[in-house]
Symmetry: C2
Subunit: 202 residues, 2 copies
Amino acid sequence: MFAARGFVGASLQDIAAAVGIRKPSLLYHFSTKEELRRSVIAQLLAHWSNAVPRILEAASSGEEQFHAVAEETLAFFSADPDRARIILRELLDRPDELSSLIELQVRPWATLMSNYIRKGQEQGRVHADVDPEAWVTAIINLVLSSVAIHSSLGRLAAERPSKRASTSTIPPRLIAEIVRVARSSLFVNQQTPAVDTSGRTE
Amino acid sequence: MFAARGFVGASLQDIAAAVGIRKPSLLYHFSTKEELRRSVIAQLLAHWSNAVPRILEAASSGEEQFHAVAEETLAFFSADPDRARIILRELLDRPDELSSLIELQVRPWATLMSNYIRKGQEQGRVHADVDPEAWVTAIINLVLSSVAIHSSLGRLAAERPSKRASTSTIPPRLIAEIVRVARSSLFVNQQTPAVDTSGRTE
DNA sequence: CCTACCGATCGGTAGG
DNA sequence: CCTACCGATCGGTAGG
């Protein structure tokens, strides 16, 4: 409900009703609305930023790493677009507080990825004019917003113009292009287009 | 105030105070809060989507067009990041209503751009595997979110870690990388790196 | 453009 | 986990 209506827009009344209890009962589990918020986003950021370093370790080659992180991250957010929406809303609502969380939870693996990119540049596999930190930031932005608002903006790339905005999953066509943009803006020579493009219509 | 706190988060009381009048006086100009919202976003979308076709006409060559649209769009949103924030919030808050507005205001020039891209593909200047509509959607997502949340996420690419999140303008380093990602994911051969990169630090 | 005021809903508490 | 209730604030109106 935070994802759909925002923090102030989602009342404790509504949230409690959705869980099947009354408002005071909800406030027994989370003594304040603010605490409920913290619980939600802490869980979210933790899940996300614990997954990334694990993937980075698992994969070996540069291209393989890119691939694994791209797949895993997009899978994580595609599985539930509300995850991206909540993060995006928090980023908009409380930039200062989120800055701290980003430093703690995101910065470490963002730096890790940046270093891999620099190594790739030395080896000539990655475009020399890539700005590693800025690239990582841009791609996070791209993935987050694409998943979060695909039901409205994403319909620009929809085959059949359905009247209702599908709130469900992001179309494979958009995912494929996001991965392509990320890869082609990074690597000098595109090797195997190993990412799943089965959903592509064109 | 809609940009900073969201529609429900920004009270008519606060808005009126910011303008220097009382709440009922504000409701004289906009008979309802909903009408104030419509007025704000209609003005915003109109400005943006009137500018794009004009630029597309003005520039002639493909590379020149890309360049002009990129510069103009980034300039428009960089001049006031709140513009991007409001649009992003509306996209999150009311996807269905925004879908209609997008069809009317954005679809026309998005199609225009997509056709230019297809022409570029026939001429071999644009990567063959670009999905035109999906690419336009992705880049809009990239620009909107990058400008909107640069004060929090964007600090991943900040040189000196200032404690406060600067709410002002987006750092040139991020802008340069956004333009580079957009261009290198589109064109086969990067010609003149004509976009301003004077602010780049590395 | 103002003062005064409305019912509704908000987050949260008392007390069981 | 509930009923009952609190003060504060919300969008909006009456009337000038």
